[in-house]
């Protein structure tokens, strides 16, 4: 700040050296005498005093006058804040090249503001502007624009959700004519792509510059290559470890971590829709999660016998081991497993017909059932739920009595889920179940043996699949369960479950795509369909593609190489975004300061001060007087509604009640006071009567605070709807607003034995001008010593107290209730004391 201060005429500051002399001079000259007319002058004549030394000028006056002089001198020197030495006199065009790829999104707002200020400043000098974004697609023209056009273009500019292409921009720059007066600026995102040196060179060839501005560089979030765990790789130019946040589809936070691995319960994990870096909003820092990232629940059906004494002979042991790394596993009886709603159901036992229907329904709904052949299957060819009809009895290869060799696996068909899986040499199949030759077109063969017999057959059923592996998952039938191929195959099957998109299919249409700021939006017309190997880039922003119900995610992160920081070539100055500040002339400020100080001195030394002080002194007590007076006596209060008739009624009603109370009890209350909760002090009043109307506004924040404090400290608010309990929608809405604002406690209709019914008179009804409104009190007021802080009614009590539209007996009843109310507010639960119960009971008993 101080370093940024410069003076237009620094020599003027030399006058400051004369300040001590001025100080001495001011100190030596006494203040002028006050001139006073004095009739008894004759009596003064001839009087002398012992000392004739005049009073000195007071120190504060001296300092004040010295400050005035200093301010004037500084103003004369022409102070300037943030002097801009370079661009002050330039009038040539301004060229702003700016990176608008994903990496610039981290501080895009600051970048845009910086550029806009720069363009604005250029516009004031009448300079034209070139705008050169570096991310594709390149705009039709770079300019020249007027400043206003450039600002309009910049207004909605967002970064692109892919990388910049400086090499392409470099070629496009040739469209701009070389002009020695061009001043160029490059707002870089701070990454190095191997072309930045050439880019700077090209810019400098156009004219002056460039000045290079480097902002914050965004970080890249990549799913870890495994992809099975929610672990990530963060590539950042800074060393800080960011926080990852997992969000579900609606944007709710599901979890956060500062390490690179998110640990979530299965159900929550499967709801994760995207993972972002906190405080870094960009497409590169967002990983979209699709079905491939979700862990499936694989249910293994065990025999009803329970614990298997020979686990190594049990096929489920091998399946469990193979599936464990990438799926949750549950095991149990078929009925138990169906209840778990798994993604994949694996079993090798037979199925009873009644169970088969349930399993079939489940498959139709999208489940994947994987059956392994076993001894049970070889004996029962009519087993339900098989993709193929099986021949009775199995086939054994390479046995003692067999001439055939154990068979190897043939290469997997390209259209099946196992496409391109490498087949280890040692895999051989010794036993299998054979399918009847069948022309069922729906059956697909996903794996064969070298002799062409199917090893894995599958049948689509509804939205799910029924898969049969023609041998058992035990080493007795084949070496497959022991090979590395087995987990891979199961992995593919599990991945296929609950996922409509079979790998290899395409193209996928965009569903929702990310913009450069990492926000999911509906795709624009320029977003094309992708194939499964497409890498995010221009025209193919990262986002969700394919089936809207189970879309496939295309992420930007994996396609980005390792980040390299931008290293400026020698001779190029690099500065940050914050260095750009407009030149500010401080001379008016200094002059204003001098003027204010001078005025202050004038006011202080003249009568004006006394007048102003007097005014202040008289005004302050006036403002406080009402509150003071109100606090001197105990009195009832009512809330001023602004409706003159209602306020008058409240005032008269409470006045009448106070008088009757004084006549019948020892409680002497002063005249009631109208209060506005947002400006008046409330603590003086034991009872606050609040007539409600349909137009009652929500109290202001300060009023809410005051009312809450009032209630918390033992105040009593009596709300009166004044409508006899009519079911008025507007009134109910007003009441709801009030309740919401004041956070009122739960209310209940007043119990028959409530203290209010016996705090002075024994009463049964609480009529006002109306008689049928229900009276509500706080339901469970344990926190306030059992005293309700709220009484809500609709009987227009104030009206009755004021004598409106009631006969004498009804008014008397209303007054009795009012007296009870006052004494309740003054004495709280005193009358709830059980001491009085016998007497009350006795009196109650005498009454018929």
């Amino acid at each position: 700040m101080i370093a940024d201060l410069a003076f237009s005429f620094p020599w003027a500051l030399a006058v400051l050296l004369a300040l001590p002399g001025l100080w001495w001079l001011l100190k030596a000259v006494p203040p002028p005498p006050a001139i006073v007319r004095f009739p008894p002058l004759r009596l003064l004549m001839g009087l002398t005093t012992q000392r004739e030394t005049p009073d000195h000028m007071p120190l504060w006056l001296l300092v004040l006058r010295a400050l005035v002089v200093v301010a004037l001198i500084v103003a004369a020197a022409g102070p300037v804040l943030h002097p801009d030495s370079r661009s002050a006199k330039t009038t040539g065009p301004l060229l702003i090249a700016f990176d608008d790829g994903w990496a610039a999104a981290a501080d895009w707002q600051a970048r845009r503001t910086w550029i806009e200020e720069k363009v604005d400043a250029a516009g004031r000098l009448g300079r034209s502007v070139y705008l050169v974004p570096t991310a594709l697609p390149a705009p039709q023209t770079f300019g020249p624009f007027t400043a206003a056009q450039a600002l309009t273009a910049l207004h909605g500019w967002t970064p692109k959700p892919w990388e910049t292409d400086r090499a392409a921009t470099l070629k496009a720059l040739q469209a701009i004519p070389t002009d020695a007066s061009i001043e160029s600026v490059w707002v870089s995102d701070g990454t190095e792509d191997g072309h930045s040196a050439a880019f700077i060179h090209a810019l400098s060839g156009l004219g002056n510059g460039p000045a290079v501005i480097v902002g914050k560089t965004g970080s890249v979030l990549k799913p870890a290559p495994d992809g099975m765990d929610l672990s990530f790789e963060i590539d950042s130019l800074t060393s800080s470890s960011p926080t990852l946040i997992a969000l579900d589809e609606a944007g709710r936070e599901l979890g956060r971590t500062t390490t690179a691995t998110l640990q979530l319960p299965l159900q929550m994990r499967n709801q994760v829709s995207r993972v972002v870096i906190e405080g870094d909003q960009s497409a590169g820092a967002t990983v979209l999660m699709d079905e491939r990232f979700r862990r499936r629940l694989v249910a293994l059906v065990e025999d009803s016998s329970g614990q298997n004494p020979q686990p190594l002979l049990d096929s489920m042991t091998y399946v469990a081991k193979a599936v464990q790394p990438y799926a949750e596993i549950k095991s149990g009886s078929l009925a138990d497993m169906m209840a778990q709603k798994p993604s994949v159901l694996v079993f090798d036992s037979t199925i009873s017909p009644d169970q088969s229907q349930a399993v079939q329904d489940w498959i139709q709904a999208g489940g994947m059932a994987v059956r392994f052949a076993g001894n049970a299957l070889t004996q029962n060819g009519d087993e339900p739920l098989l993709p193929v009809r099986l021949r009775a009895g199995g086939r054994t290869l390479g046995g003692v009595l067999s001439w055939a060799e154990p068979q190897q696996l043939a290469p997997f068909p390209a259209d099946g889920p196992f496409a391109e899986l490498p087949i280890p040499d040692e895999t051989e199949v010794r036993s299998q179940v054979l399918a009847e030759p069948d022309l069922k077109a729906v059956t697909k063969v996903w794996a064969r043996l070298t002799d062409g017999t199917p090893l894995v057959t599958a049948q689509p059923m509804g939205r799910g699949w029924l898969v049969l592996v023609h041998c058992a998952a035990t080493p007795q039938w084949s070496s497959l369960p022991l090979s590395g191929l087995f987990p891979e195959m199961l992995h593919r099957l599990v991945m296929m479950s609950s996922s409509s998109s079979v790998p290899g299919a395409g193209p996928f249409n965009p569903v929702r795509v990310l913009d450069g700021l990492g926000i999911l939006r509906p795709p624009g017309p320029d977003v094309g369909a992708i194939m499964d190997r497409t890498v995010a880039g221009p025209g193919h922003p990262p986002g969700f593609y394919g089936d809207p119900a189970a879309p496939m995610a295309l992420n930007l992160g994996p396609g980005i190489g390792r980040l390299r920081p931008f290293v400026p070539p020698s001779g190029v100055q690099v500065s940050g975004l914050n260095r750009h500040q407009a030149e500010q002339d401080l001379r008016p400020a200094a002059l204003l300061l001098a003027l204010l100080l001078g005025l202050t001195e004038l006011i202080v030394t003249s009568r004006l001060l006394r007048v102003a002080g007097l005014l202040l002194l008289t005004a302050m007590p006036l403002a406080q007087a009402e509150t003071w007076e109100a606090g001197l006596d105990t009195r009832l209060a009512y809330v001023i509604t602004g409706n003159a008739a209602i306020d008058r009624k409240s005032q008269v009603g409470l006045q009448a009640l106070s008088q009757v109370l004084a006549a019948r009890s020892t409680a002497l209350l002063a005249a009631p006071q109208g209060v506005a909760p947002d400006s008046d002090s409330l603590p003086f009043y034991p009872l606050l009567y609040w007539p409600l109307t349909a137009g009652t506004e929500t109290p202001t924040d300060s009023a809410v605070l005051a009312l809450k404090r009032y209630l918390k400290r033992g105040g009593l608010i009596v709300f009166d709807r004044q409508d006899g309990g009519a079911d008025d929608i507007a009134m109910n809405a007003a009441l709801r607003r009030l309740n919401h604002a004041l956070d009122l406690p739960a209310l209940e209709p007043i119990p028959q034995d409530h203290v209010l019914t016996r705090s002075f008179y024994l009463i049964r009804t609480m009529p006002g001008r109306f008689t049928n409104g229900t009276v509500w009190v706080q339901a469970n007021s344990a926190e306030n010593d059992g005293v309700s802080t709220i009484v809500l009614g609709a009987n227009d009590w104030a009206g009755a107290w004021a004598g409106q539209g009631t006969d004498a007996s009804q008014r008397e009843a209303a007054l009795r209730f009012g007296i009870n109310l006052c004494l309740y507010s003054l004495t709280g639960n005193y009358k709830a004391d059980q001491v009085h119960m016998p007497a009350i009971l006795e009196r109650l008993g005498r009454q018929p």
């Binding site: 005498p33 006073v36 009087l47």
Partner: protein
Amino acid sequence: MIGNSPVLNAYALADTLPPLLVAAKRVAASVMGAHGRRRAGPGETFWQYRAARPGDEARQIDWRQSARSDHLQIRETEWAAAQTVHIWCDHSPGMNWRSASTLETKSDRAMVLALGLSAVLLRAGERVSPIVGAKGVGAKGGAVSGEHNLERVALALGECGEPLSGAMMSAGHCAVLVSDFLHPIDYWAAVLKSLAARGVHGHLLHVMDPAEESFPYQGRVMFLGMGQEPGFQSNRSQDLRAAYRARMQDHCQSLTRLAQSVGWTHLIHRTDHPAQTPLLALYTRLSETVR
């Protein structure tokens, strides 16, 4: 100079006192406007019947009363006469001054007091005679009576000037002088002695601004008089306070002694005090002295 405002003020002030019936105790039955001299003489109030004596005129005989007895009876009335109070109100330039804007000037206060006194006296039926400078009896001068004449008194009081003249006064009259009495004591001695020589009783009502008593000034102050006279500058005026106060006190005591020496009274009133107090005191004193 005299507008409605001082008159209204005077009425307001006068209303706070009961009608000033001078020596009312002794003439309980007297008519407003004249006080019985407790002897027979010209008047309207019945005094006594007495037997006719030789030398009484026949028309004096009350025939109706005489018919009731054997003697001729004469009906006598009480001799009634009103008291005249001369009032002088100082209007020298020094009176037109106040030390703070919240106070009245001494002149205003003096006027209110003089008029208030006049109002009370007129209401009681006494005669009020403003002393209008050396001219004596003039168009505006002369004693007036009747409450309706207060405006006339007010106009005349506004014309009061110096030097004081006792030309209109005669023995037994009463005078009230309202002033700040800042002239040297010798001047006042001459005035009072000349009045006292005529047998005039009187009262000095001394109106004083609080600053004239307390001298609240400090620092460098240039004191100017009310006229063209040279000023007086003090660099440390707070140091003058004690000496000034002593002189002022001395002056007041001299005035009191002077008044006592001729049988007058001296009453000091500060303009920051309510006006009722001196009026009440004056009322009491007038009740005692007037007969």
